[in-house]
Structures are given as structure tokens and as C-alpha cells.
């Protein structure tokens, strides 16, 4: 049973949204994105903004782990580099936010390109463990240059221009101003939302296009069998490093987004191994090898956490637990259950559902 329709022309094969159902889904997604800031309150805007960060980070990781098969637990390190580049550029050089985003990405990509060659001789578990080392080393470096990064105390992240009144970078909340466009008043979280949606859509689009392109197919060849890929003339070394570069670029962007959203960042609570693990969990829940899976996983993950938290606030499962511990426990149980019952992830579930309905009334 094919999961994509028969095509007879190259234009159809290249189309991003080949079927009518894709177009309908796209329309619905656009409507949902436009309606969200109108109906959501502050808490849910916060959740949605964080989910956008997850989407960008997950697509970044899927390029490395899903396409190229390089398991990385060092993702948090790249996010940390991006976040701190954003902070340093804004605080010390007064760079506007639209320039900060790509530069933070480039900084992280630089680190990724340095780390990439180390990964060439390793695979599987060895790579996973050595990338944990990346998180430790990056965090150590960030902590020790406290003049630039604020060290253990952390640093504020200004978002200059448009978000701020003419570069007045306060300690906190310098950009918490509202903007009026015509008769419409935009609160800060809505402005951040618009920026984040733009970035997330761009990232997803890049991810999908990488997968469809020559380099994406080369990466997948390397993932499936690097020696065989080399025999066929695809250089595994080159594409592993390219994947590291692209992935860490988008991870840096995600880090900058995280920093903008948080407005004040420290090194360890967010950027530790738990964050890397969360991203791995996102792409595995989504169905590890596609951009669609990464996006679905990120949405799932971003929305389950607050739901678990609100459940934890209502129902006191165990007295001794705080709400965040309880939500972590719920999340852990959910992830473990998912792995045991549906190891192909949400995407696998979706494909099964689609097959069921497209072959109905027959059983596939």
C-alpha cells in the first residue's frame, strides 16, 4: 500500500503540497496560526511560543539524527551557544534582534563545524556519549567567561528595535512595550509570537527542502549505510559535517529564540542534558526521520507539559510532589508507554490511520 499518490509528471513529484488534502491541512494550519493570538491568554501564548522554540530545535535535531543518523545528546550545547550569542550581541554591541537571529545561528554552526570532525570516526552510542561532553564543555566555557556572559548569575537578553523603545535595554523587561499598528495594539508576547511563527515556518520549510534535495538524499544514504554510500560516491565525512553545521545553525536559532522568550537566561537550569534528552524524546515521539514527525512531536511535547501541569495542580496524586515534578513524572510515564506501545511514534500512528481510512472497508 503506497502512502503517497501516483505521480505522472515531474512537477507533481516536486510539489510541496501534492494532494488536495495537503492543501486543506495547510489552510487549516494557517487559520489556526492566525486565530491563536486572538483567543489565547498570556499563559497559553507563553506555551505556544515555547512550542515554536521546540519546533525549530526539533527540526534542527531531525536533520542530524533523523536524516544523517548521528545521535546527538549535545543539542543543548548548541542552543546554549545560540542563546548566549544573542545575549552578548544585544548587551555589548547593541545589535538588533533581526540580525541577532542569523548571527546566533552562525555562531552555533561554527561550534558544530568544530565538533563535527570529532564525530567522524564515531557512531551510535559512542557518538551519543561524546556529545554529552560537548554540553559540559560549552557550559564550562560559558560559565568561566563571566565578564561577557554573567557567569553563574546569568544575563539579561535585550531585544533591540521594534521590541524596545529606542535601545533602552533595561535589566529586565526593557522590551515589554506594546506596539500599535493602525488600530491594532500588539502586546509583547504577540509580537514574539509573530516572529517565532515566521522563524518556525522558515525552519520547517528549509528542513523539508533539505530532505527533498540532493544533500538530503545523500544524508539519508549515509544514515542507512555509510560504507555503501561511500562506495556509491557520496562522501560520508562531508555530509556528516554538513549535517552538523546545518543542524547546529538551526539549534543556535532556537537558542536565540529561547533567550528572547525567557528575557533572562542562566547556563545550567535550561541548557543541560535534560534539554538534549527532551529534544531526542520529541523527535522519537514524532517518528524520528521526518520533518513532519519533528513538528508533530514538538507540538505534542509543548502542549502535553502544560496539560500535565494543570492536571497536577487539580489532582494531587502524591502529596510530596511539586507540580513540576509531577508533570515530569507524567511525561516520563507517557514517553515510556509510547515507546513500549507505539515505537514508530506519532507519525507511524498517523500513517496507520491514513491507511485504515484509504483502504476502508477493507482491512490493510
Amino acid at each position: 500500500m503506497p502512502i503517497r499518490p501516483l505521480v505522472t509528471r515531474y512537477e507533481d513529484d516536486l510539489a510541496l503540497f501534492p494532494t488536495r488534502w495537503n492543501k486543506i491541512a495547510l489552510t487549516l494550519a494557517v487559520i489556526a496560526l492566525l486565530v491563536t493570538p486572538l483567543v489565547a491568554n498570556r499563559y497559553w501564548m507563553d506555551v505556544v511560543n515555547l512550542t515554536a522554540v521546540y519546533v525549530v530545535g526539533a527540526v534542527a535535531l531531525v536533520i542530524l539524527t533523523g536524516f544523517t543518523g548521528q545521535i546527538s545528546l549535545g543539542h543543548a550545547g548548541f542552543l546554549a551557544v545560540g542563546a548566549y550569542s544573542a545575549a552578548v550581541l544585544g548587551n555589548h554591541l547593541g545589535v538588533p534582534f533581526w540580525l541577532v537571529v542569523p548571527v546566533a545561528g552562525l555562531a552555533a554552526a561554527g561550534v558544530g563545524l568544530v565538533a563535527g570532525p570529532f564525530a567522524l570516526r564515531l557512531r551510535g552510542l559512542y557518538l551519543a556519549i561524546i556529545t554529552i561532553g560537548l554540553v559540559f564543555v560549552v557550559n564550562h566555557v560559558l560559565r568561566s567567561f563571566s565578564g561577557l556572559t554573567g557567569g553563574v548569575q546569568g544575563t539579561s537578553v535585550p531585544m533591540l528595535w521594534w521590541f524596545d523603545q529606542e535601545g533602552a535595554a533595561d535589566f529586565l523587561g526593557g522590551y515589554r512595550a506594546t506596539t500599535s499598528v493602525g488600530s491594532l495594539t500588539l502586546a509583547t508576547d504577540v509580537k514574539i509570537y509573530l516572529l517565532f511563527v515566521l522563524l518556525a515556518v522558515c525552519t520547517v520549510w528549509c528542513g523539508v527542502n533539505i530532505r527533498r534535495s540532493n544533500s538530503g538524499r545523500a544524508m539519508m544514504a549515509v544514515r542507512d549505510h555509510d560504507l555503501a554510500a561511500a562506495v556509491l560516491g557520496v562522501s560520508p565525512a562531508k555530509y556528516k559535517i554538513v549535517a552538523f553545521g546545518i543542524s547546529s545553525f538551526f539549534a543556535g536559532v532556537a537558542g536565540a529564540m529561547y533567550a528572547f522568550k525567557a528575557a533572562y537566561i542562566t547556563v545550567d537550569p535550561p541548557f543541560n542534558m535534560n534539554m538534549s534528552v527532551e529534544f531526542i524524546a520529541i523527535i522519537v515521539i514524532g517518528g524520528a526521520t521526518t520533518v513532519f514527525g519533528a513538528v508533530v512531536g514538538a507540538l505534542f511535547f509543548g502542549l502535553v507539559r502544560p496539560l500535565a501541569e494543570s492536571l497536577a495542580n487539580r489532582v494531587d496524586l502524591l502529596e510530596a510532589l511539586t507540580a513540576s515534578q509531577q508533570s515530569l513524572l507524567i511525561l516520563a510515564i507517557l514517553v515510556i508507554g509510547f515507546m513500549l506501545v507505539e515505537p514508530t511514534g506519532l507519525r507511524g500512528l498517523w500513517v496507520k490511520l491514513k491507511r485504515y481510512f484509504s483502504t476502508w472497508p477493507f482491512r490493510y
Binding site: 559512542y126 559540559f136 522519537v284
Partner: protein
Amino acid sequence: MTNLVQLLASGLALGTVYALIALGFVVIYRASQVFNFAQGELVMTGAFVMVVLGGFLPWPVAVLGAMLVTGLLAATVERLVLRPLVGRDVVITVILTIFVGLSLRVLVMVIFGPDQRGMPTPWAMDAQVNVGGARIFLSSIVAVAAGAVALGVFYYLIRYSRIGVAMRATSSDQEAALCLGIPVGRIFGYTWFVAGAYAALAGVFLGMFPRTVDTNLGLIALKAFPVVIVGGLDSAGGVVVAGLILGVVEVLTQGYVNPVLGSFGQNFHEVLPYIIMVLFLMVRPYGIAGREEVERV
């Protein structure tokens, strides 16, 4: 000189703990190709069980009891969570064990609370022995001795006992082992039991005097990863050697190199094992004594 001897002793004690933890990784990995990221949480659980048992049992019995309880816990985790996933992708088991570890940590926090506790010892908590002018913690000496005994038992178990032979057969070829009537599934359970028991032993010595027992004790396992990698994922002897070396190097760095580096040296010893690991992997990607992977297209 006395300073050096003191540092060497505490380095060896730390190295023994690393070796015990790393041994747990290797035993499980060799049998089932699973890398157990929940090992640190087993260490912590073992320490907490010891705190409880040490309250009413004589010390040696309490240590054995803690090893037994933690080993059974590990075997239960294997049976309930890991067994259904035999033969799955590496990533799946990695994530699964990480989340098992997270849940374990939350559960321990629920049961024991976030307070720090002292590890019960039959000798005075900070008892020291005078060796040629150097004052060495009695705990360090006992840790090294107990570690040596545990490693000896492990060697004997693997080399000569029925279960040990079955474990080695399983790690060399699961299907062949199954054909020869070895209950491979149960062997996985045994390996987890051994790993849990050794983790508990490591936890007992890790929680002694300079440190205390709390829910962050499990983070030590993050520093045992470099040990496993440098030693070689599938070599028990390799990780013991690597554990001792890295433990000593870490403590010596803390004593002599950190002060030299200024602000960069703050906690530099915590990162050093990872740097050693990266450099080592450049030269020998399969560790000191690991098997080199040979691959067919």
C-alpha cells in the same frame, strides 16, 4: 608530598567508585547492547536504601542488603520496560533508560524527601589514618578494599560460574546461546541485577563523609560515561583501569591544575574527563581494550 599521597588516596577511592559504576554499564551492554542511562539513579537508590538499612542492621549485612534490593529493582526494571524492546534501535533504549532514570529520581524524592542525609558507617564519620604523615580517610581505604573484593568476585563469577559462562555466551552470540538452551532473557535480568548491585556498592562509598546522600548523587554517572568510553564499551578490564586512572587524574587536577588556571579553572576538573575522552577517541575510537568493529557491506 603528604598532600600528594592524600590526593592519590582519595583519587583511588573515587576511581574505584567510577570502576564499579562503569562495570555495571559494561555488563549490561555486553549482554544486550543496551546502554543504561539510569545507572546513576541506581547508584542513588542504592545509597538511600543503605541509609535506611544501615539504621537497624549491622553494617556489612546492610551493605549486602542494599546491593540485593537495588539489584532486584534493576532486574524488575529490565523485565518490565526493557525486555519488550529487545532488538530495537539504540536510540529507543537510550531514551527509555533516561526516562526510567527520571521517574526513579522523582520516586526516590517522593519517598525520602529532598533532605541530605549522612551515610551510616561503623567507624567515626571522618576517621583518618596516618600513613607516613599523610592523613587519609578510613572511608577511602575501605572503599578501595571493598572495590577490589567486588572486582575479584566479579572476575570469578564471569570466569568460572555457570551464570558467568552463560553471560559470556550471550554476549558473544545471542542466537547461538539461545539454541544451546541458555535462557537469554533471564540472563539479561541477571546482568541488570549485577549492575544494580554494583551501583548500590558504588553509592554506599560515594555517599561517605565528604559527600552526603541526596537525590543529586546520581549525577556521578554522567562522569562515569567518559570512563566507559575510554575503557571500551565492551571491556570489563578496560573500564576498571580507566576508572582508576580518571579518578586519580580528576582529583590531582582539582588539587594542582585548577588553581593555576584562574577563573577558567573553576570546576575545571569536572570537565576534564570529557576532554580526555574526546582526545582519547581521536586516537582509539574503541577505547583502551574495546573490540574494534569490523563491518561488512
